[in-house]
Symmetry: C2
Subunit: 368 residues, 2 copies
């Protein structure tokens, strides 16, 4: 697995169950997956030699992030490295402009968009959609980084200076709700969707996941169908997380992740097969597992490094005293604003699960 953060850490946990050996490309012995005991190859995901070394003796090469340069992936795929997912599919998660164009061409619902490289193009798009607009760096953003709401032509031009290749412009949509659908596809084409989640963002970072999303069955069915249809993209394999906006009662695609995703952490306790085991099954070409929920309602809340730099681990025993709370800590240094863990609660209804999960997360973050 390229990357050694918390996603690799939790994938390692799933690999232990299956008796699978996971080797990770890590930047440091302090990386979360290395501290959990995944075998490290130290190096950079931007260096061909390091990726080749990682692939030695491996059945497949997969990813816990989207940061490998697309050109490098294509080069390695041409050399015969068993990349799963493949470069073409991965690019949908790496390049927002490419994803918009490709998905629009395939008939998927995407927001209006344009690539703006000049003041004139900005003006044209604004005339059609009005201010404010949303400007996105086509590559490199995650957790809201690289996404800016711009209110004036001057703001937009200033951003453009940092993006010589142009920036992706979209209207500021009247978003009613954000949804996330985690699906998985195995090498032989089998695909399965988990129940649709509502994703509650806070400061552009996913904070809470509520499952099943409190939406109509009809809309949930549409969201699952849409996400399953996306698995038909060439080279798509393993877990794919699809972020959707509900706008005017309909669905538009926001972003894809071609890997396990924060919006699927709830599956560890909340579904019959965790997204991490599912990802391993998918990329290894094994049968996929059941995606059924293990309780009527499941809520996951992220634990984020508090502003005072204190460590949630010191408050772990208090959080564990909350009934029904499952705590996952990533063994990371407590940098303010950094995702350090998450808690999951299963319950008979969303409100009960949400209350308990928020209480436990607040304890860990020192707010309680």
């Amino acid at each position: 697995m390229v990357g050694a953060g918390q996603l690799a850490r939790m994938t390692h946990r799933a690999a232990i169950d299956l008796g699978v050996e996971l080797t990770v490309l890590a930047g440091s012995p302090q990386d979360a997956a290395v501290r959990a005991g995944a075998r490290p190859v130290f190096g950079s995901s931007a260096r061909a030699e390091d990726l080749r070394e990682l692939a030695e003796g491996a059945d497949v090469l997969t990813f816990d992030h989207e940061q490998v340069p697309p050109e490098l992936l294509s080069e390695l795929a041409a050399e015969g490295l068993p990349l799963r997912p493949g470069p073409a599919a991965k690019l949908l998660a790496q390049d927002k402009l490419h994803a918009r164009r490709e998905l629009e061409a395939r008939g998927f619902p995407v927001p209006a968009f344009t690539l703006a490289t000049s003041a004139a193009q900005i003006d044209d798009f604004a005339r059609e959609h009005g201010w404010p607009l949303v400007a996105k760096a086509p590559r490199g953003g995650y957790d809201g980084r690289g996404v800016t709401v711009v209110g004036t032509p001057a703001d937009a031009l200033e951003l453009l200076e940092d993006e010589p290749g142009g920036m992706l412009l979209e209207p500021l949509l009247p978003i009613e709700r954000e949804l996330a659908v985690v699906v998985a596809r195995s090498v032989d084409g089998e695909a399965r969707a988990y129940p649709v989640a509502e994703s509650v963002q806070y400061e552009a970072m996913c904070r809470e996941i509520l499952v099943p999303a409190p939406i109509t069955e009809d809309l949930a069915g549409q969201a699952q169908e849409l996400a399953l249809a996306l698995t038909d993209v060439p080279g798509a394999v393993g877990v794919i997380a699809v972020e959707l906006f509900v706008v005017d009662g309909g669905l538009v695609i926001n972003e894809l992740a071609l890997r396990p995703h924060n919006s699927g952490h709830f599956t560890i306790e909340g579904a019959d097969t965790s997204q991490f085991e599912q990802h391993l099954r998918g990329v290894l070409g094994w049968p996929l597992g059941s995606t059924q929920l293990t309780a009527p309602a499941v809520v996951m809340v992220n634990v984020v490094g508090p502003a005072d730099g204190s460590d949630p681990r010191a408050r772990l025993p208090r959080a564990l005293a909350e009934p029904g709370v499952h705590v996952h800590l990533y063994d990371k240094a407590p940098v303010p604003g950094r995702k350090l863990g998450h808690v999951t609660v299963r319950a008979d209804d969303l409100q009960t699960a949400k209350d308990a999960a928020r209480r436990a997360a607040a304890i860990l973050e020192g707010d309680n």
Copy 2:
């Protein structure tokens, strides 16, 4: 953790969730827990220096087996090593004769027993209870090793020659059913019991665990009370597995394990808190987690190395195609008769769960 087998492996998996660092005392880099990435100290659980080295920097020292010599544990406890459980409690799982005497003195139901060191003592016990008898080595046995059904005085005498300190004799009980109750105790005295399991043995090794055991509520309540009462033993902390026999409709204690136990593997998917996380919480003095089942019925079946020496891993994809099956493989060499993994199935009733779990185990063992 002293020991690095599958119990340490699965404890490591639970330690990852909690952000706890687990170091294991291992005999070899091939030990199951080391292969899963637990930090190893290589050495022997019979050497004081190795145990001292393991304890360096650790908050607590706990165990995945019962094989540390009791005298050594007492010596290390006297030095101040944080042994959890403590030597007195651990001895109940290490010395069958001591356990019988101690538990009888505390008023717990145990089978009739005697320590026989001579032919005359064997005859006396046989006159009272009739042949055949069950002869047990007081120390060192597990999975049925060290336990022999003897039909004649000559058989008993032959065994006695190998046990100069004497052997534990018990009547061959008319066992109606074997039960297992996993309980946990935290340092502050909090104790919780999991639902009672039926333990189905085959060639003296636990093969299947059915939860909840198909017995009356009354008997299940008695079994849980009895197991919880056992946690009052001085120094008892962490998980305690209590094996019980149902004889003439009542309960007698067979054996204790002061550690996570095969009969508790079902808790990984089948209960709200796994026995491995529970053990960590208990020995670290943290609040215990919920012991509720996550489904009406849960069945665990062990995967044992097949006689032909073939590796269950080669058949893993086929086993994963069985719906609802959770496979755990321990990454151990496929020695015939060795426990190599287990499968767990949750269902609405025991029969459905048992059928599916047996089918998956049979596939892994190559019988299907």
